[in-house]
Amino acid sequence: MQPSGTPALEANGISLRFGGLTVLNDVSLEVGQRQIVSLIGPNGAGKSSLVNCITGFYRPQRGTVTVFGEDVSGLPPQKIAKHRVARTYQNIELFDGMSVLENLLLGRHMHMSSGPISGGLWWGKARNEELREREVVEDLVDFLELESIRNAPVSLLSYGQRKRVDLGRALAQDPHILILDEPMAGMNVEEKEDMVRFILELQETRAISIVLIEHDMGVVMDISDRVAVLDFGQFIAMGSPDEVKNDPAVIRAYVGGAKEIAS
């Protein structure tokens, strides 16, 4: 196991610019082991951009990212994934041509090793591996209650189901760090409750550290260990849910304040 003192995830001084537009300005974030840290902030504040920087999809101009003390800055997404960082996507990026099971099996990709020869010949190793991983994936199907749709093509599923498969694919990677980009957007109360149940169970049973981007303040304040508030590419507050709730800067960002109106 990792030393418990090392933070699971540490982003240090991340600055990201697209041309003349500064998206993130010297942003630092630390996620302790087994913590749930929520990122909140108005639309366009840079939450998804920060996540994209952490997972290697964007390359920030400055700053470093470390995972359990290992520097992963500048690595491509597929290398960062190998450090057991998994994520879901705001716009659900599933593999539409495949079934739920195949999408989940793809999450197991880096835990498998068969190549085009053994796979194409359905040889002992590849076959055993497929069957072994199939069992791992079936456990996930149970956990996420996807039994009835396991063979359905994901393109035919409802929005809520697709969100769940997206989470399943990330979980199949057996991550140490899980980044959830608006996992509850567009869901009804019941679906949100399910999702929260899944997240809490994960944190408890699998010892996963979670970064959560979410707009539902009720959920955020209930389940987060720490909350970080991003506005115009900068953190304006960070702390326990209660501290953040009463922070004047946060209230100003969300509902506006006297100063803003005056200027």
């Binding site: 491509p76 597929q78 998994a86 990026e93 593999f95 796979g119 010949l121 497929e130």
Partner: protein, 351 residues
Amino acid sequence: MPLIAMETGRFDENHRQQVRVYDTPHRRFWILTLLVVGFVIVPFAANQYWLTVLGLIGVAAVGGLGLNVLVGYTGQISLGHAAFAAVGAYSCGIMTTRLGLPVWLAIPAALLCAGLFSLIFGVVSLRVKGMYLAIATLAAQYLVEWALHAWNLAGNDYGLITFEPIEIGAFNTATPVGRYLLIMACLALVVLYVENLTRTRTGRAMIAVRDQDMAAAGIGVSPFKYKLIAFFISSSIAGLSGVLYGFSAGIVSAEAFTLTLSIQYLAIILVGGLGTVPGAVLGAAFITMLPIVLRDGLPIIGIELAANMQVHLLSVLFGIAILAFLFLESKGLYGLFRNIKDYFRQWPFSY
């Protein structure tokens, strides 16, 4: 009522039963029938003409399956597959006829050559997609056509190279039956290979790259690596198609591997059904049979056409067929077959 009952009452007891390709007894029965007809009955019953036609379909099907790995499963386009087939055919021809290497060594080596050659163009796929990749692979086409003429690889000015028949005991590809069996055996192996590939790790990663290359990277699949693997596998299979063509024709020239063939491969998988194994075979049969039906079928219904008209009409029909499939049934012949099957599965209660 076999049609209605064929998929009910299935209770898989373990994962091994679940991942079987031919899962129902019904399907296994048809596959077995197909194998028996293909390998036992046809060689005895068919005359030389039909053996040759079926052989041509087989060669086209192998090429189509090869291109399907790249286009249908990995979502990368190639207009240069005739060139990769040519590399396969010429490597094999040169190694066996001119260097005197044994066939069992020359064929795998030829496939390796075709695969490695295609990697040059696979590297391009890191930077360019779609239309631009198509143009880049078109370069392969012209490069190979030019090289065959200019470098005199075959030892004569026409780029002609002969293939000595393979002879193992009673099996001899100098006979029509021998050629037919060689092609069909290779086709069966390629079908099995592609079918297995696409249900295991590597194939899934390719499909992931096709569907969502960014998300593929996010789960640890390197899109570039799998594009290269797809190029290699796809072109090796195309190379095999070239080799088979060589053995069935006995002699090949550069004219056999022009851009037209590359486009024919694309037509095969478009008409048959992108990203499906049976689709490539059905498409190959369709594209190969079209001119034959046109030539032999039209006189039967009383339409006599001049030879040059036939050629033109063929191009027109070719175009119409592709357009029709793109507009009406984007999943191709195999999609059509599945729709019909689904209809009858629920018939007469389609609700």
